[in-house]
Symmetry: C2
């Protein structure tokens, strides 16, 4: 064992260093590191990074390893630093509506702890059971309720982060407003572990909603979809929490066996919309929800609609939207996570489908996503696993001219690096490199991710 | 005229260079610069900064000059760069709900243009008529509706900024979600012109509310105040847009002649609260507002209350809250803008009043502010203008141990530099210096502001 590994073992203890057989037994996506160190404290993270920085040893931060762009890929020359033993919820402050947590706590435990305190942590993604809150910071996670509550960036009041040289930067604020110099925490949010390792967070909690209204709606044109969005966002007075659109193909896929979901609305409409509003008064909220939807239906904007009448029906509606696994029927498929301004979205999707049809007579193109945020998920199958790069170039081709993004939520990691310059200018990339050089001059933190 | 000034005159034209008598005639707070350059385009800003950077010439960015911490202070060795001729609203995109503007547009014109398009730009501060949108970015402005819509940071989707060396960094996104590498715009928000000069912005617009509910409430204890906040924030279902608290002394000041405001509630309560909710349905919203307030009153949480019945009454309620000018009755006074976590706020204010009384038998201490955001404005008079530093040290003394901030909204500039280290650690200050050095190695941008 190298002198450095020995030193890291002393810092984190025997149980804190995973090598050899124990390492081989772990299921690690995207490559085996030399070792996994598992520090139990901020001080241990600091000592670990200081030692690695002095030795020029590269370090790959590990959260829940649920990322989708290979941002945690490692190789046998690299050491992985896992936050899995820093998994304590340290404080819930009900009056200030904050929760102080270590970065290795899984998202779901944060949600449950907030709920147990009568509050809500609104960020929610499918990987909630494994994804850690620190990983959510590193990727600036999004999810289903961004339209109302924002992304992970908007849930963070305070942050403790360890820099490449071991410096502990502690900004564990509980306050919403703090204009005292540069807001340093912003730099680390979404930086995919390349600028520092987040160790603790002060999270912002929200009032727990007492009512949940949901409906599935159908629309015949994209103009009607945006019209419905504007009506609901205006008339539901701040309570609209999800506006998820399923293009026809995807709706049919997830409401037809072998999918378990029963279709809440007849097939054949161009667009299906899952709408959710979270409010503070069951009776008044359900009346308002019904009124707003009824008006839109009378005005002919909504073609058809079904309002969930029970928790079971609400859960079933979300399950339909979330049954992304059905796309496996068309394997091999490629998945995308793009943003495009709302006034360009219809033309983008139309053009994309046309391009795919022109190129591959038999293709599958499933489109759905968080339309209220301009974010679409697109799944494409062309029957050939080797055509990934070709499909990518078709999907991304329409984005730059429309001011779209090749990554709305998932980040860049390694997978999307070839396309980063489609969403960022050379000046932006140069400034990113300047920042990386300033914060991590020895390039030890998650090298080769985002930037080469 | 120096060679550099001649070059700057060529870049911005004759009307773009203000020197000599024309300069002397301008009312400029905090010191006269050598000249004011007024570029009309991003290219001209870029050429100006490139020339100044090459010459080692320091530059002070000018917005509306309404800042409160001397962040635009200049001296005759410095050149001021004013955005006053970059004052175009370039586009309003109703479908994407965005507005693209040049940085020199006054805030109020942005608000009015949004309203004319049937949308809302929610940021609002007292200086709206003069303060520019670029200045709002530089200070990360807050204001009255942060509890619902966030600060300036939350209103920005895209940004174009010119770096110290003239590099134009263009990130004029219209999309909400864009996880493609570091979110560079965050770096410049709240950096008070020390890292770059913002030239254009894509602003996020919101649905225009159709109903405005307002009330003045009274409470006997601070616990009741936070109880009311939690009830309203939960039960009004996302529509709560302001929760402004006036401590007894301030309420009395602004509802007693010579103040024009008529008291909506009897004197003598410990706390007065101005509550506002913005919604989408006049009838349903007013019913809900009444129901929620009535319940809290029946439960004895609200001691007294008055609901505004007309636009005139609503305007009058805001006018009472905003009649800060009345503090001039106690001149000389010193004004503060602090944040403190909600669970520490009562003890902080109690301790502050005690400390002031211990030190100055005859003092005035008026407290009011955006309690929903943890932000208080405090005005202190001790009858002696020369005691500013002494009063400051008393007001700030209780903040560090409570995790408070010496500047919630106003920034640091020059005025609050001596106290910056009370809210920021030496590691944080070191990283700020690292960033400043990386982005502005010749230290030409607004030198001496925030950092020395």
């Amino acid at each position: 064992m190298s002198a450095l590994l020995k030193e890291l073992g002393e810092i984190s203890g025997e149980a804190g260093l995973v090598t050899g057989e124990a390492l081989a037994e772990r299921l690690i996506p995207h490559g085996q590191p030399m070792a996994i160190v598992r520090p139990e404290s901020t001080e241990a993270v600091s000592a670990t990074l200081a030692a690695c920085n002095a030795a020029g040893q590269t370090v790959v931060p590990y959260g829940g390893l649920t990322g989708l762009v290979e941002a945690t890929a490692a190789n046998p020359t690299e050491i992985a630093l896992s936050l899995e033993r820093m998994n304590q919820i340290e404080e819930i402050d009900i009056a200030s509506r904050t929760m102080t947590v270590q970065a290795g706590v899984p998202l779901q435990l944060v949600q449950e702890a907030a709920e147990a305190a009568g509050l809500m942590f609104p960020l929610d993604i499918g990987a909630r059971g494994s994804a850690t809150i620190g990983g959510n910071v590193a990727t600036n996670a999004g999810g289903n309720r961004v339209i109302r509550y924002g992304m992970m960036r908007d849930q963070i009041l305070g942050m403790e982060v360890v820099l490449a040289d071991g410096t502990v930067l502690s900004s564990l604020n509980k306050i919403i407003k703090n204009n005292t110099g540069y807001d340093l925490k912003q730099l680390f949010i979404g930086s995919e572990g390349t600028l520092g390792i987040v160790t603790r967070l002060v999270l912002r909690l929200r009032p727990m909603p007492v009512s949940q209204q949901m409906a599935f709606l159908a629309a015949n044109s994209f103009n009607e979809v945006t019209d419905i969005l504007n009506r609901l966002d205006g008339k539901l007075g701040g309570s609209l929490s999800a506006f998820e659109v399923l293009w026809q193909d995807y709706y049919q896929l997830v409401t037809t066996p072998p999918a378990a979901g029963k279709p809440p609305l007849a097939a054949g409409y161009a667009y299906y919309i899952l709408v959710e509003a979270l409010g503070g008064d069951e009776v008044a909220d359900s009346e308002r929800f019904l009124t707003v939807l009824s008006e839109a239906m009378e005005d002919g904007v909504i073609a058809d609609g079904a309002i969930a009448q029970s928790q079971g029906e609400r859960d079933a509606m979300w399950a339909i939207r979330d049954d992304v696994g059905q796309v496996r029927q068309f394997r091999p498929v490629f998945s995308f996570d793009i943003s495009v301004p709302l006034n360009q979205m219809d033309s983008y999707v139309t053009e994309l489908k046309q391009s795919l049809n022109d190129r591959w007579a038999h293709n599958q193109c499933m489109v759905f996503g968080h339309l209220g945020d301009g974010n679409l998920h697109i799944v494409v199958g062309v029957g050939d696993k080797s055509l990934k790069a070709e499909v990518e170039s078709v999907v991304y081709a329409g984005l730059p001219a429309r001011g779209g993004s090749v990554s709305a939520e998932h980040g860049i990691g390694i997978q999307k690096k070839p396309y980063l310059s489609m969403s960022r200018s050379s000046e932006e990339l140069a400034l990113m490199r300047t920042l990386k050089q300033a914060l991590d001059p020895n390039q030890i933190l998650n090298p080769g991710k985002i930037l080469s």
